[in-house]
Structure formats: structure tokens, C-alpha cells
């Protein structure tokens, strides 16, 4: 068992060594950063910054599905016939679209911390707790993202004619099946441009999580800038990396766009 996992570990290490885009065998910092401030290893900041990029990507990718699911549920509530559901969805979007992202992050970070501490104190543990910055950031960004995506999905819901629901009912599909098989595929197609936009916003908003100490791009470059006194260089690198991520994602999103529109090609 131990041998097997170590074998997997070494395969993974080789894979990383070969394909890591920053400090792998063919990474940009290995090829071009040697001897400069961006060298990999102990003399340069290349590996730290590469780690930051991975954290940023991981945070954004982990937050997106969470935000979309919560957003879908909120949109579902906002278009329901039940007044109380509409009202509570309205309160949610009004609050979280009106608060600055930075403030939401602080409120959730310190609020969760306090909440857990009070709960633990009630059970009998008296301890100072620090919650994980990644999880707190994920929660905060998912909430902000869901408030926006619910608006996008709500307008997509309104674009789907009532006849689609009626056709589902006429075919004898249950309400859940109508939603999943008929409405949701159309909804995704209509909401996709708006959701693409939200992904870009989410990618940029991850930079705010650096204020609660998560070592993503902004924090890593900030640490490097403070240690080397080369602030202009390192913050330019940070801007460049965000630009790169934005370009990569617009490249990927154009594929998704084309995939979503594949039924319209012939027309």
C-alpha cells in the first residue's frame, strides 16, 4: 500500500516536473527566469508566484460551481409564484449586490470565526479559532457571485416562454423533469454570455482574498515586492498574470460558447 502510493507520488512528481507551466522542466520561469528575480527555488520568487497562480485558479474554479448552484436556487425562488419566496430572494440579492466585495469578505471571515467560537464556547471549548482563508474566501465569493448570477438566470428564466412548461406538462413530465430536461438546457444557453462575464469578474475578485491572508497572486507578489524592494516589477507581473488568466479563460469560454450554439450552426 505504502509502495503503491509512493509510486503514484513519484509519477505525480514527474508529471508536475514536466508540465508545470511555471517551474517545471519547460516552465516559463525555468526557461527565462534563471538568474533573475523570477528564478525557481530559493534564489528567486518564481515558484512562490507560480504557487499563487495555482491558488488563484483553484479558488476561482472551486467557487464557480458553488456560486452557480446557489444562484440557480435563488433565481428559482425569485421567479416562483410564491410571494414569500420572491421576497426572501429579493432581500438576498439586494444585500449582497449592494455590499462591497471587500466588506462581504471581512463580514464573513470574522463573522464565521465569531460564530464558531460562540458555538464552541457554548459546548465548553474556550479557544481562539482561525478559520481557513481559502474556505472563508470561497464562501464569500460564492455568495457575491450567486447574487449576481441569480439576476442573470432570472432574466434568462423570463426569456423562456410559458409554452415550454406547458409542453412538458402535456408530455406528462413531472415538474422536476420539465425543469431539468426542458428548461435548464435553454436557460444555460440564454444565460451563457452573462455567466461568462461573471466568471471574469470572479477571477478578478479573487484578488480581494489576499487581504485575509490567502497566498494567491496578489499576496505572493506583494511579499516578493516587500522583500526585494522591486514593487513595480512584481506588481506588473501580477497584472500580467491576471491578464494571462483572462486571455486563457476567454479562449476557453469561446469553445463553450460554440458548444452551446452547436444547434444553431446550420441556420
Amino acid at each position: 500500500m505504502g509502495g503503491l502510493s509512493s509510486a503514484f507520488g513519484s509519477i505525480w512528481a514527474t508529471f508536475l516536473d514536466l508540465f508545470d507551466p511555471f517551474c517545471g522542466r519547460f516552465g516559463i520561469f525555468t526557461l527565462f527566469g534563471d538568474g533573475s528575480l523570477l528564478a525557481c527555488g530559493v534564489d528567486g520568487w518564481g515558484d512562490e508566484i507560480g504557487f499563487g497562480v495555482k491558488i488563484t485558479m483553484a479558488l476561482a474554479l472551486a467557487t464557480l460551481p458553488l456560486g452557480l448552484i446557489i444562484g440557480f436556487l435563488v433565481a428559482l425562488a425569485a421567479q416562483s409564484e410564491e410571494k414569500s419566496l420572491r421576497l426572501s430572494a429579493g432581500v438576498y440579492t439586494t444585500i449582497f449586490r449592494g455590499l462591497p466585495e471587500l466588506l462581504t469578505i471581512f463580514i464573513i471571515y470574522y463573522g464565521l470565526q465569531m460564530l464558531i467560537q460562540t458555538v464552541l464556547a457554548a459546548i465548553g471549548f474556550e479557544q481562539r479559532i482561525e478559520i481557513n482563508a481559502f474556505l472563508a474566501g470561497m464562501a464569500a465569493l460564492a455568495i457575491v457571485n450567486s447574487a449576481y448570477s441569480s439576476e442573470v438566470m432570472l432574466s434568462a428564466f423570463r426569456a423562456i416562454p410559458k409554452g415550454q412548461y406547458e409542453a412538458g406538462a402535456a408530455l406528462g413530465l413531472s415538474r422536476t423533469k420539465t425543469m431539468l430536461l426542458i428548461v435548464l438546457p435553454q436557460l444555460i444557453r440564454i444565460a451563457l454570455p452573462g455567466l461568462n462575464n461573471l466568471w471574469m469578474i470572479l477571477l478578478k475578485d479573487t484578488s480581494y482574498i489576499s487581504v485575509i491572508g490567502l497566498s494567491e497572486i496578489m499576496r505572493q507578489t506583494g511579499v516578493a515586492a516587500r522583500n526585494t524592494k522591486e514593487a513595480f516589477f512584481f506588481y506588473s507581473i501580477a497584472c500580467g498574470l491576471y491578464l494571462l488568466l483572462a486571455m486563457l479563460s476567454s479562449f476557453g469560454l469561446s469553445f463553450i460558447d460554440r458548444w452551446a450554439k452547436r444547434s444553431e450552426v446550420g441556420r
Partner: protein, 276 residues
């Protein structure tokens, strides 16, 4: 022969199937109750943890922070609007160089975070102190407020340029052609015919941009400007009282909601000639 001699008299509609308690309604009431309890908890926190000393000490600071936020946003929106005009024209011009340059500007500023831009300007340009002192611009770049203003203005200029371009291009070609056939000069056409129609289209995106700016302006707190967020962080670091953040949330929500309603009213007022 079998046609009906007597028609069936009209009957009342069947009673509406109205269920008092549906799962959706139960769930909705549960959610509303949750919001209500949360609101009550916040209110209770503010009432029972009320501390007049803190209120006297930090209340005026919050108000001054609110002033800083509002002036910062207003000035940067105005400077951004001025800056966005040449960018819009460059973006729409047929000149390849101007077009590419403005495209790159807009793309870069829209796809990097405001925080990174602010750090680049405040900490990054701060490195060039000797050179800046030589040109006599150091007073500008040593002050975090001015750096915030600069980065916000540059950032919002990129967004506003896109808004303006979209709005101008949404005006149908026939308007240009109609003006040309009436012999109206190009400049007059633009200011008297195209721009008024474009600005109505741009009104809603401009409102959204101002709201985004108000929310984004909170980042200046990180570079030591005492705006609303900065004062909040100051108060929290002194008292470790969670209420500090709740008060800031109330202030921000109040500004954004007020602005949203003013904007809705403004839009209804300005488009009343388009109502049918």
C-alpha cells in the same frame, strides 16, 4: 333530427383549487423567518452592545470616511468620463494604430483587478521617487488618495469608454444618413442627434458603473486611505467589535440603494417621451 333546443345555461367557473399550505409557501415563510431572525439578531447586537463612548469616538470618523468615499468616487467618475471620450473616439476611429492602442488599453484595464492596478500605481510608481521628484510629480504619487484617484479614473475610463461606444453604435445608421441628407454638419449631427439618443441607452450602464465604483472604492482602505472602509478597519482594529463592519454595511447599502432608486427615477423621467 336531433339538435338541441335548449342550451345548457352558463355555469359558474369551478372553484379555484387553492391550497393554503404548499411546500413552497412553507419554505418561503421559513426563509423569511430566517431573514427576520438575522435582522433581529443584528438589531439586538446593536442595542445591547451599544457603547456611547465608542459611538462618540468613531461616529464622526465614519461620517468623514463616508465623505472621503463619496468625493473620491465622484471625482474619479468625472475624470474617468473626460478620459473616456478620447478613448471612445480612438476605439471607433478607422486609424489602425489608434484603434489597437485603445483596444489594448480597454482590454488591460478591464481584465486586471482594481487592487493590482492600485498597488502598481501606489507601491510600484513609488519606487521611482527620484525621477518623479525631478519632474515635480512626487507630491501626487506620495499621497495614497491621489493614487487611488488616478487608478480609479484610469479603470473607470476603460469601462465608460466601452459603455459609450456601445451606446453610440446602438444609434441606427439612418440617423446619420438623415442628418447628412438634411445638410447638417458632422459635429452638429454628433452633439445634437447622435449623443442625446446614445446617452439614453447609456444611462443604465452608467448607473451600474457608478455603483461598481462605489463598491470598488473600498480597496483604497488597503493603501491607508481613511475612506468608509478604512475607518471601519481602524475602528475594528481598535475595538475588535464586530459592529464596526455592520455599520459600514448599513452605510454602503444605504448609498447603493439610494443611488439605484434615484437612477430608476431619472431613467423613467428621461425616457418618458419613449413610452407608448
Amino acid at each position: 333530427m336531433s339538435h338541441a333546443l335548449e342550451l345548457i345555461p352558463p355555469r359558474p367557473a369551478p372553484p379555484e383549487a387553492y391550497r393554503q399550505v404548499t411546500p413552497a409557501r412553507l419554505f418561503g415563510f421559513a426563509l423569511l423567518a430566517l431573514w427576520f431572525l438575522l435582522g433581529l439578531a443584528l438589531l439586538g447586537m446593536m442595542v445591547f452592545n451599544w457603547d456611547t463612548e465608542k459611538f462618540v469616538k468613531y461616529g464622526p470618523r465614519y461620517i468623514s470616511g463616508l465623505g472621503v468615499t463619496l468625493t473620491l468616487v465622484t471625482t474619479s467618475i468625472i475624470f474617468g468620463a473626460l478620459l473616456s471620450l478620447p478613448i471612445t473616439f480612438a476605439r471607433m476611429s478607422k486609424n489602425r494604430v489608434l484603434n489597437t492602442l485603445s483596444y489594448v488599453y480597454v482590454y488591460v484595464f478591464r481584465s486586471t483587478p482594481l487592487l493590482a492596478q492600485l498597488f502598481l500605481i501606489y507601491y510600484g510608481l513609488g519606487m521611482f521617487r527620484p525621477q518623479l521628484e525631478q519632474v515635480g510629480l512626487w507630491w501626487f504619487f506620495k499621497d495614497a488618495w491621489y493614487c487611488g484617484l488616478l487608478s480609479f479614473a484610469l479603470n473607470t475610463a476603460a469601462y465608460q469608454a466601452e459603455i459609450l461606444r456601445g451606446a453610440i453604435q446602438s444609434v441606427p445608421r439612418g440617423q446619420h444618413e438623415g442628418a447628412a441628407s438634411l445638410g447638417i454638419p458632422k459635429a452638429v449631427t454628433f452633439f445634437k442627434i447622435i449623443l442625446p439618443q446614445a446617452l439614453i441607452v447609456a444611462l443604465r450602464p452608467y448607473g451600474n458603473e457608478i455603483i461598481l465604483m462605489i463598491k470598488g472604492s473600498a480597496v483604497v482602505a488597503i493603501v491607508t486611505v481613511f475612506d468608509l472602509m478604512g475607518e471601519t478597519r481602524y475602528a475594528f482594529s481598535r475595538t475588535f467589535d464586530y459592529q464596526a463592519y455592520l455599520w459600514a454595511a448599513i452605510f454602503y447599502l444605504a448609498i447603493v440603494e439610494a443611488l439605484r432608486h434615484v437612477w430608476a427615477w431619472l431613467e423613467a423621467r428621461l425616457t418618458r417621451h419613449l413610452k407608448r
